[in-house]
Symmetry: C2
Subunit: 612 residues, 2 copies
């Protein structure tokens, strides 16, 4: 790198600053000072260091760049405009409804792999991508730009720990240590030694630099990939760097400059600014693309009606069965693999399984990273512990990520372990994730077929599995499309439609038998697809039973199956009565708890009779 190059990079950095200032001032909102602090690092990465094809952001061996501090979006957009991907004039459409240059980056843009903007999530995605590069025998590197403020997020350290354990020397984090948070200075200011000690303790190689010294930046970047550790570059910077009257001052987070201030700032920067378009960039190496095509079909099932198999075990069986032929499938667990049965896959395909330890946020973030690299990631844990990763799931919804989750041990039917281990709110959480599918099988055949559906359907899918063994009630060739439901009992004289799923479906069947002896018929529907719900089928059944529906679920009454059915059918005049777990449950035997909380066969019988 000769002197001219250094000057050019300084010029590009200032051009990125100008774009960031101009676009946020035009928009009337945004975070220009958070862009300016990282401008030199981004200039060096995008215009002198990273190996990628700027005309084809999706090329499989491009280096990846994740802007974990997503509020610096204008800087990212400016960098790609300066590579020539789109006209720089478009930058002034920032934050407008008609432009995909949104307030924070989303994958509506071809150069964004995952949405960011909720802090502390980018490093997990980066760990996933770095692991995926190894699996795919590709030599691309993954760069994650972090803010110093987000280093307070625990998810960061979950990711840092696993990166250290796996010695991911193809992962590079840069912390933009600009010392100023949103509402006050960070606790450690410019003392990069604090961050150095932490990252070192978590197994990283560290470099401390002046984040505005292009030569220093390039020097440490030249040593990327050396050694066996992930690398973190701790870049001491000034928030608002380059704007003499603002830099390093408090009170400038998330504020655009006024038109006058912007003009003054741009006048300061303009003399040394330089456009980056046309510079030769280091190309990625040409390595074969990984095979990420779906298989033509999956091997058949071989259950017998009446076999006693927990749906969590069927999940493990399915992952193993379809994993044999679907090489896109990778799996993750948070030290529960002997309970969720993902260990079947882990033992057979160790290179495609990542033990994530007890760190669900990072597990979900990593899985999203694999999904962004065209794998089909399945992550499993107890359903309740996915609550830990709710925000990662929310952001995955914004990313329209391809991400599959299996949450086991749901409801009071787990029994003695007590409420801390019971998923009783997971349907509510998962239904509220943008674009999600929420699936809840009752038997092993349904569970396995739903895993096939999950693998072949793009998007976020959650499978809710149960702890107790339940009988196989479906034939091996039964189909379970997402958005469907099954009518298990129906006759012309039925008085009520009972909608159940999972453990309560078997209670409903028992209730039907008991009611039949008294001459009362009920329709029973297996609502294995809670979202999307089989509205038309449910409505048609309800209308045949005088618009009377009883839902019964091993879940709290808020946001679960009952609310889903009521929310869809009440507009058509259907009367939905909910049976659910209305109290904070206690430890006890599963059957005791189903009875105590009013979701067993007796409770269904009583409810049906009360409605007649």
């Amino acid at each position: 790198m000769n002197d001219i190059d250094i000057e050019s990079l300084k010029g590009i950095a200032n051009q990125l600053r100008i774009h960031s200032i101009a676009s946020t001032t035009t928009a009337g909102s945004g975070h220009p000072t958070s862009c300016c602090s990282a401008a030199d690092v981004v200039a060096a990465l995008f215009f002198a260091h990273m190996r990628y094809d700027p005309k084809n952001p999706h090329y499989h061996n491009n280096d990846r760049f994740i802007l974990s501090k997503g509020h610096a979006a204008p800087l990212l957009y400016a960098a790609w405009a300066e590579t020539g991907l789109f006209p720089a004039e478009d930058l002034l459409k920032l934050r407008q409804l008609g432009s995909d240059l949104e307030g924070h980056p989303t994958p509506r843009l071809p150069f964004v792999d995952v949405a960011t903007g909720s802090l502390g999530q980018g490093l997990s995605v980066g760990v996933g991508m770095a692991l995926c590069a190894r699996l795919d025998n590709l030599d691309y590197r993954t760069y994650v730009l972090l803010g110093d403020g987000e280093c307070a997020e625990g998810a960061m350290w979950e990711a840092a720990s696993l990166a250290g354990i796996h010695q991911l020397n193809n992962l590079i984090a840069v912390v933009d240590v600009n010392r100023l948070g949103q509402s006050q200075p960070t606790p450690f200011g410019h003392d990069t030694a604090v961050y150095r000690k932490r990252f070192q303790a978590f197994g990283w190689r560290t470099e401390e630099i002046d984040g505005h010294d292009i030569e220093e930046i390039l020097e440490v970047l030249a040593a990327v990939g050396l050694g066996s550790q992930p690398l973190v570059i701790l870049a001491k910077t000034l928030k608002g760097s380059g704007i003499s009257f603002i830099q390093d001052k408090e009170g400038w987070h998330g504020k655009p400059l006024s038109k006058e201030e912007a003009a003054k700032a741009i006048a300061e920067l303009q003399p040394t600014a330089k456009s980056g378009v046309g510079r030769p960039l280091p190309p990625p190496s040409q390595l074969p693309a990984p095979k990420n095509d779906p298989p033509a079909s999956y091997p058949p099932l071989s259950y017998k009606l009446g076999d006693m198999v927990a749906t969590r075990e069927a999940y493990g069986n399915a992952l193993l069965r379809i994993g044999e032929v679907d090489l896109r499938i990778v799996a993750f667990d948070g030290d529960t693999k002997n309970s969720t049965y993902s260990e079947k896959f882990a033992k057979k395909f160790p290179s495609r399984f990542t033990e994530s330890f007890i760190a669900e946020q990072n597990m979900v973030g990593m899985a999203a990273g694999f999904g962004a690299r065209r794998k089909v990631p399945f992550a499993s844990s107890f359903a309740c512990f996915f609550g830990r990763a709710t925000d990662q799931l929310r952001v995955a919804g914004i990313s329209r990520a391809n991400l599959k989750l299996a949450g086991s041990h749901v409801g009071v039917s787990i029994g003695e372990d007590g409420p801390s281990q019971m998923g009783l709110e997971d349907l509510a959480i998962m239904r509220a994730i943008a674009g999600s599918a929420v699936l809840y099988p009752s038997d092993a055949v349904c569970a396995e077929k739903l895993v096939e559906q999950m693998a072949s359907t793009k998007g976020i899918c959650f499978l809710r599995t149960s702890r107790p063994k339940t009988p196989v009630i479906y034939n091996n060739d039964e189909q379970f499309p997402i958005g469907g439901a099954k009518i298990l009992r129906q006759s012309a004289s039925d008085k009520v439609t009972v909608v159940a799923a999972g453990a309560t479906l078997f209670e409903a069947l028992k209730a039907a038998d008991a009611l039949k002896t008294e001459g009362i018929g009920i329709t029973i529907i297996d609502a294995y697809s809670v979202k999307p719900l089989a509205k038309d089928l449910l409505l048609a059944s309800a209308q045949k039973t005088n618009n009377l529906v009883v839902t019964v679920e091993d879940h709290y009454p808020e946001g679960g199956l009952g609310d889903a059915v009521a929310g869809e059918l009440s507009a058509d005049g259907v009367k939905v009565h909910k049976l659910a777990v209305y109290e904070l449950p206690h430890s006890g035997k599963p059957e005791e708890l189903l009875a105590k909380y009013g979701i067993d066969a007796n409770a269904i019988v009583a409810k049906v009779k009360a409605l007649l």
Copy 2:
């Protein structure tokens, strides 16, 4: 401590092991090996070191003990039985429906401050209690027993960081490094140096000991409180310690011993076991109890009708106003205090405010800790970022914690920042927390009165606040009980009841004005209490409008206001039509987004007309 005492403590430790083995074998489930590894530490803490009144677990200056590794519950129960609090025979009722000795600890028991069992949460609660001790001028110490597996959870490091920043030398963590997780060994095994480096980097004093050597344990405990740092004791232990044929073996997590194995194990331990009852314990110092009584009344409000005030700002005003007279109130924020307006309280009462930085899990855990010490904790952030702490909130629900949350910046009405900053699933999440109240004010008066209600109502309450300024529509003396609703427009000829809250309430009012010009009357209800919902009032209104209801909410359609109303009213034959944000939203101007996603006045008008 003389030799006889050491032998006694060894004997007590073995007695605790015997109880743990016997109770789990009788229950047929549980985690005896996770109890045995920590038995010596617990014996030393409970019978030679901690200062507490065993007959009065609630005494205000007792040392606190949090079993973060909650699956070792039988060990905790055994310790308290051995102090004489309840008969040891009761231990054999472990995990039965009729006993509060549940699978994991809950505050149904007088000696449990907070529920545990979801790993990685106890240290945050401990940080809260240690900070609260300082605030209350009490010298009790807080001890947190952690598993090594849970050190993978990011929340642990959020807590560790803040404890280091605050130099909490009244906080002592003990890590039971038994090297074996649930499904495989932990990544670091018995290498306590890894944990030492991490805790040191996070500002802690560290001690590494043999966790089965009572003398070594007592030696490091003797130095508790020295220096200015929190202390972590890294205790190298064996899982199943004391059971010769099981200890340090894989495959024994969460498994009770068979009757034969238990008999054999107890026979090994019995000769050296010794009951602890009757030992003199170090008493707590007698210091005055903090004044935690509610005030007789709160100062009045002074808004004018039509004043433009965002509900988030009203939250800040309320916290300041009632905080003046209600000394129980403490507050927390995650570096958003200038947006949530909690900075008003922070500036006036700095000693009662804890800046939690960008670490929402720890913020909520700390707040729960203060709540368990009889404070009234208010934590604020953007509503979407509370999703980060979903599992802490779930567990707070199990604790029946006294915990108040204010989530700002909800829905598409925040505008340009885009979906990553929009709370669009918070109602679904918060409704699903056991025992929660979910409140959603539209104007400043309602917001302030709801904050009063939150302070004076025990339990978990969530206040959903909005970013834009909205007009004051209520008089200062209006009352807003939790569980209520307000009818804003109603006439005998109304055709439809429109239920709204927050930003959409003003859209509904505009819609009513527009419809009125066409001679169409609609009833408008402000559903400021989403949970509990004012079912009777809503039902009565719906019945007056031919059972036709339209809900309109700035939230996804799943689990929010619409589902809540449908879930409550559909059983009575009410037809509920939902307007909500059915798509993943984009950045844009607030009014553009309300229109695009069909929740503005025009959308309401169109929906009402379509129903007639």
